[in-house]
């Protein structure tokens, strides 16, 4: 019986650090059947217009939007935001 060498190789295993946030972030929506009161046609412009109104009222921003405020700059940068 022939004898031989037993080679044992060690390899450097790349260890990649990936972060795990450990948070689950969810948005919840209530689903309704549409009623007559709901907007029948929600165009992008309508959504944008409504978003601006809601930004002002919900976040209690001054009515005359000023792009010196971070939020307004943010809004302008992303064109519109949506609360619904």
């Amino acid at each position: 019986m022939e004898t031989g060498e037993f080679h044992c190789h060690f390899y450097a295993i790349p260890y990649v650090l990936t972060y795990v946030c450990f948070h689950s972030v969810t948005l919840s929506y209530n689903l309704f059947f549409e009623t007559e009161k709901d907007t029948s046609k929600l165009t992008v412009d309508a959504v944008q217009e409504r978003a601006v109104e809601r930004i002002v009222s919900a976040l209690k921003l001054p009515g005359n939007l000023d792009d010196s405020q971070p939020f307004v700059a943010f809004h302008l940068q992303h064109r519109y935001v949506s609360f619904t």
Partner: protein, 263 residues
Amino acid sequence: MGAASNNIEMLRSALRAARMPFCAAGDIPISQDIPIKLLFRVSEQGDHTSMNSVTFPLSKADDINPLLEACKQASFGRGSEEVLDPSYRRALVLHADSFAIAPATAVDPYGLGMLAKIRQSLLSDAPGATNRGEDEVEYEDDYEEERPPQGRRIVAHLDKMNVYGVGDFFKGHVDTPRSNQMLGTLVINLPVAHEGGHLVVHAPYPSGGASGGDSGVAQSPLDGGPGQRDSYTTTWGSEDVLSWVAFFSDCPHEVLPVKRGNR
């Protein structure tokens, strides 16, 4: 003869209901080039409102901290009261009037086709609903959901955002109905890496079984029920997709604890 016919019809109705799906779910790949920005109110003093934002997917784990600091402990309905009970629910919440999403199209149930899929999956047998295919509905440039010939459209109203950290959970419950027109709940999981925290949606109790009640949280809607119950468990935790699930209002559901794990 009439009574027999009625009984047969009731039996048919029950069998139809038993076969109907109780939830719909899907994953939508997100574009890494168009991050989802969540803008939220941090503080308010007089006319001055301080805002902050978090971008998803996160660049690093700490990026979420400002959002956590802006959130409150989440309560839930028990009977006619809103209660804080960390033994039943441990989570953070931000209500819809305190945050916004940009661009709006990044997380939009209409534009991303979720509502069409929900109607197709959950309401296909409902009176007035149609079996329209998702590809029959145009969503490219506007938010109008084409009205089915005899059907009713579904609208989704953003209610709140919840954040579940390590060990956070929400035991089995049934949501409080907001109106007679409410048919269910849609939950969208933002692209944040995590393990655990899965949402388990259970089929509604059969007629005559234990019930979650008309309002508030059932004491133990998932305990002591009759036999096995169909359920759907999400597989959330990816940074690459927006995962969503929608279910009828009478479905008990629970959020399993977010776990620490290895990646």
